[in-house]
Symmetry: C3
Subunit: 276 residues, 3 copies
């Protein structure tokens, strides 16, 4: 048994995901395929990177995480496969692995090029079916990374040496203001309308250390929030709240409601944390 | 092999459901996880209760039904686990099990409290991942209910003794009018726009017994229906019809169309069954 | 292990699909159930036929493909089961298998009628649960086709002899104009807004043979496209393109955008391929 996860922007309207599973099970009937998410906005590389980062480490050792958010399908963009201490990652080389590369120590990294592990006929439009699914299935059967194609780098692949070896996209970083306060932005909006920011728990803890006896004020969409909650339940239904959510990033939520709709704030919307 | 079903309001837009499956398979690689439904409206406890009631009994003996529709996550609300003669139910103690409790004889009922069966770190916002998934996985491996936490009641747990032991929500009941007729309401609307009411087949049979030689008239959204169908096919495309659907409740449908849209009737909409 | 695929118009809003899986696993705990697609537009037989045709052959030999797009549920319409050299197909006899019948050689074809393989109680509204799921599960356990019900025809079932044996729907055909050019139409729109036409790669190759030194002009929604791409990537973001997609039909796409929205063209929209 080997777990393969699929993270795509294919949606569920068509049979693209079902067909990928068909290809996988035809090659390895013992594989267990899990839908990580298929509703990434079409071609949203950053959204996929965030979902992958928040999710991958909850899976068993040896899980093969496959990402097919691939606006460059059919172009010369490479397909890459990484092995870290616990997982495999298979993805187009377009930056979807950026956040993983910051967290994981890479053991091996290859360019996927060996057509022996692809479907017999490779289309120019659906590599999920013709390349990613069969390669993942072969990996799950124990094929070695180095059989998939040439090593990308011989050097130890820590984040310092990765530059130029694999594509990375720019992640919106929090802005530390001169007065010591933090300006972040919304990088993901979930089904409940929670506005997930790029402000990490560590940013917040640093700020609290610098201003130990100060009160907090969080500014978002013209509203103010005066504390950081430990749970949704501390706040009355219908009230705005700020909380470090399941991804350890600061989230703006509306208790039993939808903050995204209520505030009219979208991706890139500013969130400021001030100590007063 | 043990089947675990998941019924949540997480939707498919994010990776919340995928992550729950990752946690389950990491603990029990042999578990089979089935999506019962993830599109319960956010925090709609009654909707979840209805879906669970209509669905649970089609699964194998020993299936573990997990419900995570949990507006109170992070508050003091308890998590409960029940064993009935055929199934396990794991859910927040917020009323989502109300309809199950009316049907099933409970063998055992505990409060889930033993952190040994939770993920190492428990967030205040995502108990689906941190509590429900790992507990379900451990149950599927054979852990006893009593290891999960203290028994909720020693008494035989029939519906008479349940009051105060576990939270129950008020279910809209049909209203028997003085003239003997029935007033019900829409309690669920499905993908096809079928308006599912709280009028059970038994209510209808009782009414027919009381008025054996009468004709029926069903009033909904200003329209009249003059019989109860046995199948959709008895009615011409585009016509309204009333039928006892797959959940054994009276449904108002539009043959090959969408009754919800055509009538402009939503949840709580009145449906009257009269004998003339 | 036997793979069962499900193709329905049930959507994911309700538990209809989950319940079908429960029924299948209760009868055959070893079955692997794959969602081919559940977002077929309600009662869209042609859409289901197209998805099935594009998808079925990527699955393992012996896969049981189940289609429940079934506006005639509860009417006298038959349920049919076919065996071809590699697959089983189980569907209502309403035309959803039309495109399969053009490609596959049928070994055996029966009317599903033996109630022994149905759920104990068969509703008039949910045959997916009461008939299709249990029959598929029994098939996956090795039950012979002929145990399911009477053979539909003794004759060799090639496309010539199928007429009248099983229902077929009319598929929009490309129109060959007097000047040799092709007029096709949009028969499917996918999640990305790609407009998939009924113009097959073979139509295009025939046209090119007839007019070997001509230039191509593709007309759609008042726009012109002057070549057929090999990949999306040959075209700048935001530009319209024509390409033979993963189903080998001509598709109109907007590079990194949504052609359906940009052109305002829907199902049935005209696409003309001219040689100049």
């Amino acid at each position: 048994m080997r777990v393969i996860t699929l993270l795509t922007d294919f949606g569920m309207k068509d049979s693209y995901v079902g067909v990928m599973k068909g290809v996988i099970l035809r090659i390895n009937p013992e594989a267990t395929v899990i839908d990580l998410c298929h509703e990434v906005a079409p071609q949203d590389i950053l959204g996929a990177a965030f979902i992958l980062k928040s999710s991958y480490r909850y899976f068993s050792d040896g899980t093969i995480h496959v990402v097919v958010v691939d606006p460059g399908v059919g172009s010369g963009r490479r397909v890459v496969c990484l092995r870290t201490s616990r997982y495999f990652f298979l993805a187009p080389d377009n930056g979807v692995l950026t956040l993983i590369l910051q967290n994981e120590k890479i053991g091996e990294m290859v360019e996927v090029a060996n057509g022996k592990y692809f479907l017999g006929e490779v289309s120019q439009t659906f590599h999920g079916r013709d390349i990613f699914a069969p390669v993942a299935a072969h990996l799950s059967k124990g094929v070695n990374l180095t059989e998939l194609g040439p090593r990308i780098s011989q050097a130890p692949l820590d984040s310092k040496h990765l530059k130029g070896q694999i594509k990375q996209v720019e992640i919106p970083r929090v802005n530390l203001r001169d007065d010591g306060n933090i300006e972040g932005e919304v990088i993901y909006i979930d089904r409940f309308g929670n506005l997930i920011t790029n402000i990490a728990r560590s940013d917040w803890e640093e700020l609290k250390e610098k201003f130990p006896h100060y009160a907090v004020r969080i500014l978002v969409g013209g509203k103010e929030i005066s504390r950081v909650n430990k749970s949704y339940a501390e706040t009355e239904p219908g009230e705005l709240l700020a909380i470090f959510g399941s991804s350890n990033n600061l989230e703006i939520s509306l208790s039993q409601g939808n903050a995204h709709q209520a505030l009219g704030i979208g991706l890139g919307g500013k969130v400021v944390v001030e100590m007063l």
